[in-house]
Symmetry: C2
C-alpha cells in the first residue's frame, strides 16, 4: 500500500472543504474538572449528515474520474456512511444506490431518503447485503464505495484531525473511536504529519473488541456477534485500515458499556450537545484510565450525533 | 417605573460580560427548510448554568452596594434562577440561600449544591416557599433576589438579545419564551434600542397562558395550576415585567404541547443540541404560524438546556 503523503492530505482537505462544515472544537470546564484533563472535543455531530462520514464520501466521489460517476455510486450500510454517500452523490449531481437491511432503524431510512438515496432493502445479514449490492452494481453500472477500506475514504476522514491541528491545538493525545478503522487511521495519519508528538489512541467497546485483538495478534479478526450500544462500531477492520493502524496508532483501549453511557450522559448534560453512543467511546477511555490521562491535553473526536430518540432510554442502558 | 436607558443596557452588558459566556447564534439549513423561514438560534443552553438566568443574577449582585452582599443573597426557586443565583454568589464571593420545594427534581438540587448554594427545603406551595424564604432572610440578613420582578434582573436578561443585534443580525422578528417575563421584557427593551424595526413576540404554552390573558385584559392574572411540559414557564408576570411587556412587546402567541415537543425534537435531532422544553416554545410559535413567518428572518432565543434525562421520554410526552 502506498501511504498518502502530507501533500495529498492537504490537497484532500482543500478539495472537500467547500462542501463540508468546519466543525468547532468545544471545551467544558465542568468536564475538565470531572475527568482531570484538558479535553478538546471535535464536534463532528455538527458535521453534514451528523457524522464525520461525509468527509470520506465526498473525497472519494471527487477523486473518481467523471465517467465513473455517470452511473451513480452504491454501497451497503445501515448507518452514517449510507446517508453520507447519498448526500455526497446529490452534491455532485450523481445518484446513490443504498442497500440497507430491512431491519434498519426508521430514522436511518428516513435520512437516506431525505438525501435522495435510492434504497433497496435486503435481509439483515452481511451475505444478503453483499449479494444485493453486487446485483445492483451489475444492473446499474454504479461504482461501489466501501465505507472504510478505501484509501480515498481514509484521506477524507483524516481531514477531521487535521482541522484540530490546523487550529493550533497542542495535544498530548488524540482519541478516536474505531469500528472499521477509517476515522482512526485517518486521524493517525494526520497526527503523523501535523503533530508528531501527539499519541493517537483507538477507543473500542469491550463488547466489539475485534480491532484490539486484531492489532494485538497481528491478524484481522472478523467482528462476530458484537454486543454494544455503540452501533457505529460493529464492523471489523479492512486490510487498508489494519495496516495504517498498525503503523501509526499508539494503542487501542477497550471500555465497558457503563463507561460509554456515563461518558455520553456527561456530554449531553454538561455540554448540552447530542452525540451518538459511538461518539462517547473516546471519553469513556479517559474515564477508565484517569491516571494515564491526568492533566494531559486530549483531543476527543465526537464522531457523530445520530441517535434514535424514540428508542434510546437512559434507564435501560 | 423608570425605564432603563440604552446607556444603562450598554453598561449592564459591559459589567457582566467578563463573567458570562458570549453564546453563539446557530443556524440550520434543515430547519430553515422545514419551517420556511431564516432562523437564528441564540444558544443560551450553552450559557453558564445552562440558561440565560445567570445574566440577570450576576447583574443584580454586581449592582448591589457591597454591604448588601456581606450577609449573602436569598431566593426561592425550583429552577434555573436558583442555580444562577448560587453561581453568581460564588463568583462574587458571597453566599446564596436557596429555598426549594422538596419535590424539586434531583438534577436541580444537585446543580444548586454544585454551585455551593445552601438549600432549605420546604413544602411545594408558593406560600411555603415565601414563608420559608422570608424566615431565612430575617435570620441571615441575606438580600432577597426575585427571579424576574426586579429591574436589574431584566437589564441582565436584556443582554442576551443585545448580543444578537451587536453581532449584526437583521431580524424581522425576535421570539422569546415568557414565564415571569424577565427574558421577554429584557429582549423587547434591547430590540427597542438596538433594532427598532424588529418585532418582539412572547411565546407561551396554551396550558400556562396567564401572560397572554394578562396583556389582553390589562391586568396581571396569577398562574393557577398551569399544565405544560415547559417547566420554566409556570410563573405569572410581575408588575415590572407586565409594564415593560405592555409597552415594548408586539404580541404574545400561545402554542399547544404537541408543537412544543415537535419543535424541541427538531432542534435535538437536526441541530444536535440539548434544549429544555421551555426553550422550544418560540420555535413552536413559528411552527403553528407558518404563513405569518414565511421567509422572515427570525431570532429564536433558546433559553436553556437543563432537562432531566432520566425522566423525559419522547414517547410519553
Amino acid at each position: 500500500m502506498i501511504i498518502p503523503s502530507q501533500i495529498e492530505l492537504a490537497e484532500t482537505h482543500k478539495r472537500i472543504s467547500g462542501l463540508i462544515n468546519k466543525t468547532p472544537v468545544l471545551t467544558s470546564h465542568f468536564l475538565n474538572k470531572i475527568y482531570n484533563a484538558d479535553l478538546f472535543f471535535k464536534c463532528e455531530n455538527f458535521q453534514k449528515v451528523g457524522a464525520f462520514k461525509i468527509r470520506g464520501a465526498i473525497n472519494t466521489l471527487l477523486s473518481l474520474p467523471t465517467e465513473k460517476l455517470v452511473n451513480g455510486v452504491a454501497t451497503h450500510s445501515s448507518g452514517n456512511h449510507a446517508a453520507a454517500l447519498a448526500l455526497a452523490a446529490r452534491l455532485l449531481k450523481s445518484e446513490a444506490f443504498i442497500v440497507m437491511p430491512k431491519t434498519a432503524p426508521e430514522i436511518k431510512k428516513k435520512a437516506v431518503k431525505g438525501y435522495g438515496g435510492k434504497i433497496t432493502f435486503c435481509e439483515p445479514t452481511l451475505e444478503a447485503r453483499e449479494t444485493t449490492c453486487n446485483r445492483i452494481v451489475e444492473e446499474t453500472g454504479a461504482y461501489f464505495v466501501h465505507p472504510y477500506n478505501n484509501i480515498d475514504i481514509v484521506k477524507g476522514q483524516a481531514t477531521c484531525a487535521k482541522e484540530i491541528f490546523d487550529s493550533g491545538f497542542k495535544l498530548d493525545y488524540l482519541i478516536a473511536p474505531v469500528g472499521g478503522g477509517g476515522l482512526l487511521s485517518g486521524s493517525a495519519l494526520s497526527a503523523f504529519y501535523y503533530s508528531p508528538s501527539t499519541k493517537v489512541i483507538g477507543a473500542e467497546p469491550k463488547g466489539a473488541d475485534d480491532a484490539f485483538r486484531s492489532i494485538r495478534d497481528n491478524k484481522i479478526y472478523p467482528s462476530i456477534n458484537p454486543k454494544t450500544v455503540a452501533d457505529g462500531l460493529l464492523t471489523s477492520l479492512g486490510e487498508i485500515t489494519f495496516e495504517l493502524i498498525k503503523k501509526y496508532v499508539d494503542e487501542i483501549i477497550t471500555v465497558g458499556e457503563d463507561s460509554i453511557i456515563r461518558a455520553m450522559r456527561d456530554i449531553w448534560e454538561r455540554m448540552k450537545i447530542v452525540i451518538e453512543p459511538s461518539a462517547a467511546v473516546p471519553l469513556a477511555v479517559v474515564l477508565e484510565n484517569q491516571e494515564k490521562f491526568k492533566n494531559k491535553s486530549i483531543g476527543v473526536i465526537l464522531s457523530g450525533g445520530n441517535i434514535d430518540l424514540d428508542n434510546f432510554n437512559w434507564n435501560s442502558n
